[in-house]
Symmetry: C2
Subunit: 351 residues, 2 copies
């Protein structure tokens, strides 16, 4: 079971249960050069109070999520004395936790790791639920494992240096999670939205903890993603396709935001609550998601087909009808999908 | 739970439970060129009676157990339409099942696979217990997963074309398993040894089923290899070191046979049953294991240290005292180990 901790000034006081778990083991802190420059020294210092630690630098950005990087990192770890009792610490955003978590899943057939998520998105989403993996040239996240960290330590201070596009990505996933899982959380989001957009650290700390908790509760019912965990795919069916056809020039968060907006056109004719959808679109609008670049409807349709096949066979669309009440696996006729997509793309592509 | 089936003429009558499991799915048969030449056509024909099937060729030998091969194979599978419901079939020896099993473990975070082991060693050992993986330059089996196949189909006819060194490797692991786990099986082995050495197919079929059953029962108590599963490491502590220092010119089976012989010098001074050990050494002797090439005692000691650290932290030596009764985690003082090894190496290195 993963323990999740969020707050300000978290690391100086590594909790005693985690100290006991780590004591006497060898640790490796893995992170990219920009994140190490910002936080590496302090984090290493706090961890060294608990265990032996070496620091390894990873390539920056999505380029790190490759098998070749995993292979080189594994060899470096072994040469530095890694063994079955070692613990990996993944300091960074979702890319780092995806790579390091997958490395921990397969090194010596599985060792322990701790997630130290430095982005809002990683704190409330990527580090929660145990999904890890790398990309292939032909498909993102094609190879991976379900291998949860023993702990997620989300230090709120790290969010002060976050680029605004990264803040937005986290807020997009927060809206998504609340919309499909938790009506009370959706209400709270509306109330706190302005302060969250202003990067109020107390509010962001509250948000990470709440959204991670909601997601973790769902994941516990469907760890291997064969059923209701598909609810978290809200906005992702079109979102993944938008990322793919734009060559990933649109960020994941922005693509999902557009993906959620699009679902309105499927939800409302099926009887979804109009007030709820107006509120949801209102929250997204205030995020300032950039408009989409021009995209081909045909390519989008093809990419949607591929995504459904490889990632989520037969799960269909996720449609929220009321706050915290959504259906997954909704099949949408091709003709309706085509028509809705045409309207969506011609209808101005901004939020 | 893996279902194990062994026998002659197994494939034409794929059992109905497996047919039901496979029906409607897409299958991929993965194997090396020499094995495909021997068995590919017939196997593909029988499987095509049950599901859609494509055939992919893998590099031959230990060279296949690399991340780069896994990556290329994964990309080829995705381009040919593999998805979460696909099933991989691993036709070949332990190298093929290690690679394909690991690929199945990580492709789309885990899909189903079926082991079709064509060597005796793979039938009674490699395909049993769920261990899969690839090598790194710095360490064999450094990356992997526990991911058992849904079924092991061990066709005895495949053993007729097996090189004699491969037959010997299987018999070595059979002796090992019986010695540490199963007194009744050890008795049976003695009785049937001549017919097994003569490659009697009925006897080999019996052997695969019995040894796989004994191993599977142990594995069920310790799936992730944190405790008593270390018993299966009998003969492997020195065996792995012998493989490493000879640059893998000594086969795994022969190295383990020498490793078991060596353990006699640790077992007898600790009160092990002399009659049992004489019988065990007698069985090994009749296998005709080639003598060891000259090896450096220093390098062996260093390799033993490395192996214990990375593979089996703190598990120490496995020492059988009576048939089916062994201890694992026995610590041997360095001075005794050095002295025993010196005698073993100077004392003629053949069995």
């Amino acid at each position: 079971m993963t323990r999740h901790l969020y707050g300000r000034g978290l690391l100086p006081e590594v909790p005693s249960w985690l100290k006991a778990e780590l004591s006497g083991r060898g640790g490796f802190l893995l992170s990219s050069s920009p994140v190490l420059a910002l936080h590496g020294q302090r984090v290493a210092q706090h961890l060294r109070a608990v265990l032996r630690l070496e620091v390894l630098e990873l390539p920056d950005g999505e380029a790190a999520k490759r098998l070749s990087v995993l292979e080189q990192t594994a060899e470096a770890l072994i040469l530095r004395g890694a063994e079955r009792g070692s613990v990996l610490f993944a300091l960074g955003g979702g890319t780092v936790s995806d790579l390091v978590g997958f490395l921990a899943a397969v090194l010596f057939r599985g060792i322990s790791w701790v997630a130290l998520p430095t982005t809002l998105l990683a704190q409330l989403d990527a580090a929660v639920g145990g999904k890890t993996g790398v990309d292939l040239g032909v498909l993102k996240n094609a190879l991976g494992a379900f291998h949860p960290p023993i702990a997620v330590l989300g230090e709120t201070e790290w969010l002060t240096t976050l680029p605004s596009s990264e803040l937005r990505s986290g807020l997009v996933e927060a809206v998504k999670t609340a919309a499909v899982l938790d009506a009370a959380l959706f209400e709270e989001l509306k109330r706190r939205w302005v302060r969250l957009l202003q990067r109020d650290l107390e509010e962001l700390s509250w948000l990470s903890a709440k959204v991670a908790q909601a997601k973790a509760a769902l994941v516990a019912t469907d760890f291997e993603d064969r059923g209701p965990r598909a609810l978290l795919n809200f906005g992702h069916t079109l979102g993944h396709a938008l990322e793919a056809v734009t060559g990933y020039s649109v960020s994941h968060g922005d693509a999902v935001a557009h993906g959620m907006r699009f679902v309105a056109s499927l939800a409302l004719p099926r009887g979804a609550d109009g007030k709820f959808w107006a509120e949801l679109l209102g929250l997204l609008e205030r995020l300032g998601v950039p408009k989409l670049p021009p995209v081909s409807e045909q390519k989008l349709l093809a990419a949607i087909g591929r995504d459904k096949k490889t990632q989520k066979a037969k799960t269909g669309w996720v449609i929220p009808f009321r706050p915290g009440e959504a259906q997954w696996g909704v099949e949408v006729p091709d003709s309706e999908l085509r028509e809705s997509l045409r309207r969506f793309l011609s209808d101005g592509t901004g939020s």
